[in-house]
Symmetry: C2
Subunit: 465 residues, 2 copies
């Protein structure tokens, strides 16, 4: 949690940007798992609520009446039976005071606030809800069916929040660095434990445990798999086998809810085969290339496309692709190997602000999202600005189902060497990912300790640990 002044001035800026009406920022509630009170899903506050109100407790709503110039923290105090079960907590009044909010009100008053605003026909600004309890709350408060709420959300509010949250303050960058240092522990734990005979599940579980030990939680479901070609492959009960690659894509959310997100791919037995090293080096070159070109003013879309061309060039060198590079990439043939985007915004959400709508977060009037397979998964295209944090995560995958699908359709057969590709169906996938801070005139990776990724460093680390 930052200083009271931070939240006061963020809300003041928000009021200026949204100009008029009432802003309602819904905090999150506990998430039931298998019965109403079993919240073993750890509580996660809404990121925008955290950004403006800083309070990490369930059952709160922040109301900003821009016209009246008032701010109210809405929530119920707890009683002695709650104290027995959950311990003492601060009163709603104390919590409001700690973030410079003058007024408090019990939850039942939210309906009155909404009814009054509706009667006066004043605009009520809310963000697109993503949790179903919030959707129900909005339905009951405002009579808007959940299916219509995304459209009914306030564009002014979305744009103001995106504008503010996109550029990370120095104190936010320090939090991301902290998350990266937990991420370092998570990844090196996985690298240390990876050996033939363990299950993916075992290593993935130890990675999670490291996140839980040092931070709030994982920033997304840990990926630890010998099937790197499945983008979101969750750890299975399969046993690690010598000769295969293990891909670990995982990140921490630190105690102040800032994220890290890294990927490493390494040989289960600690030593790359020739073929693995060949493909790995292409991914490595693409990953490192971004460091040289990302800076304020550059379109992230252009960086993505340049990486696709570099990858195509290098895949041509080893014979997996062929034909004209420009044409191949324009046609989308490279997406056989890289079917996702180069990277996404990162902050309090690992895909930062994704819930507000990717089109507002990653794109603008100048740069619109693509509809082509592969490039349509690029979550961010717009020009970089100082203070943006984006992930740099190229990968090369050999996806048997996709190979069969495209081959049977004869897709991009002028650019893809399907005969050779057939022999890679048992390869898996490689991704290397780090978190990039855009600086005054360039960029740098976040995290003081670098998780090893140059192939010799990886082999050395695995030999010595």
């Amino acid at each position: 949690m930052f200083s009271k002044e931070t939240y006061v001035s963020r809300r003041a800026e928000l009021r200026k940007l949204v100009k008029s009406g009432i802003v309602i920022l819904f905090g999150n509630n506990d998430s039931p798992v298998n019965y109403p009170s079993n919240s073993y899903y750890p509580f996660r506050q809404d990121s925008s609520f955290l950004y403006y109100f800083g309070l990490n407790r369930d059952g709160l709503v922040g109301v900003i009446d821009i016209d009246e110039g008032t701010e109210t923290l809405v929530g119920n105090d707890i009683d002695i039976e709650d104290i027995v079960w959950f311990g003492s907590v601060n009163s709603v009044k104390d919590m409001a005071e700690s973030v410079g909010v003058a007024n408090t009100a019990p939850m039942k008053s939210l309906q009155i606030i909404c009814n009054n605003a509706l009667k006066q026909k004043r605009p009520i600004h809310f963000l697109p809800p993503y949790r179903y309890d919030t959707k129900l709350q909005i339905f009951d408060l405002l009579g808007i069916h959940p299916n219509q709420q995304k459209e009914a959300a306030s564009l002014e509010l979305i744009k103001a929040v995106v504008k503010m949250r996109s550029t990370k303050e120095p104190q936010e960058i320090a939090e991301i660095e902290d998350a990266c240092s937990i991420g370092y522990k998570m990844h090196t734990t996985a690298m240390r434990l990876t050996k033939p005979g363990f299950t993916e599940k075992f290593i993935g579980g130890q990675v999670d445990g490291t996140a839980h030990s040092y931070g709030a939680m994982v920033s997304f479901a840990t990926i630890f798999t010998q099937h790197g070609e499945i983008m979101h492959g969750t750890p299975s009960w399969d046993v690690l086998e010598s000769g295969r690659l293990a891909l670990c894509d995982s990140g921490a959310e630190n105690r102040n809810n800032y994220c890290s997100d890294n990927t490493r791919t390494y040989p289960v037995n600690g030593k790359f085969t020739q073929r693995q090293r060949e493909i790995y080096s292409i991914v490595e070159a693409c990953h490192d290339y971004v460091l040289d070109v990302a800076k304020p003013g550059v379109k992230w879309y252009d960086v993505h496309m340049a990486v696709c061309r570099l990858m195509t060039d290098k895949l041509k060198e080893i014979g997996l692709m062929k034909g004209d590079t420009e044409e191949a990439v324009r046609a989308g043939a490279h997406a056989m190997f890289l079917p996702h985007g180069l990277g996404h915004m990162m902050g309090m959400d690992v895909h930062d602000m994704e819930g507000l709508g990717q089109n507002y977060v990653g794109f603008d009037d100048e740069i619109q999202p693509s509809t082509q397979f592969g490039t349509n998964c690029l979550r961010m295209g717009r020009r970089l600005e100082k203070g943006f944090v984006v992930t740099d995560e190229p990968g090369i995958y050999f996806i048997p189902a996709l190979i069969d699908d495209w081959k049977s359709q004869g897709l991009h057969k002028d650019f893809i060497n399907y005969e050779m590709l057939e022999t890679y169906k048992d390869f898996g996938g490689i991704r290397i990912e780090d978190d990039l801070l855009i600086t005054d005139d360039g960029c740098r990776f976040l995290g003081t300790e670098r998780i090893p990724y140059h192939p010799d460093d990886v082999e050395e680390f695995m030999r010595n640990n």
Copy 2:
């Protein structure tokens, strides 16, 4: 997952018990965390859906038309883009076949099924929903507002499910034993790591990691705390201090979603003080007493009350309580020290079937829940039957807020020695918990390896590990 025949015969039995109408069992969906697609909350299927349909995937609904004698698995198949991201999965048809369900239908057909049944005025049986997406789904399908759904849920279906799930089959007991063996690893990991200087957070995180490594997940949010007097104390950033007690209440959910639930309390520095051992021994005696008396036909309510009397007797011996034991317990004075119930049903849910309504699961016409503070938290009162699994978890707590509250009201001052109690405000709390299977003529603890709990065993384990 059990055999196809298991699910076929469970559904046949359910049809017999419910007799007529249409049964709709909603499977769970992914749970969004901080934006729609960020499901770092691990997927958890609904337990009753698992019990009757056995399928551990999101986006499924099971429909049993009792009148027509048909069964349908409702769900959508996935396409190539999903395969790229999440890997291949079985088709809905294959999944249905694997659990002996003859028909499948896409999700959109559920509305048609419901509309037809409503038109024909046939009873539609559903269980009380606890997730908000399910509540919304029921609202859209049947037009029942979420606030009315608990009342609109089918009593016939609830009673049939409770009847069947209460008595554990031998294959279910084997799964609980498996969960207990993961629980053993979790608890001994915590005991091994507990030393002055570590944070509660660190140990709690390692416990979680152990669950994630060997099983599906934790069966509830891990409690690891020096403030055992807070019933649901989540691990804080506080550093463990020599002289204090650490309480660990945690359990595993194994890969087939069966639970364990144990509690141990031990000295941070590995050695009990005289005062700690005194209180600990009372809890231990209460815990062990249950083993001697729990058996088919005995009311769990009576066992709870007997434990309260035993505890009162022993607290009188050391001077913390006074007066007539019977009167003290009847008045509820013991709840100062034991403000919760002796134990609850356990199975696929750690509080088994709690979502179906505690009154149907733990009570019946013969035994109704109490409203007295403390005893009102007893989740189970009815007569034990062979095959029931219940937790045995007495505890003694010194809760400063409760002491102040009762003392200022002069509550139970004939039974409580407040002067002496004041000196225990820094004590914390002790709980010992194991999982009890009711057998033919008695009971036994589940779990092949016992987590040490006799004070000498605890000290020996901590000395040697």
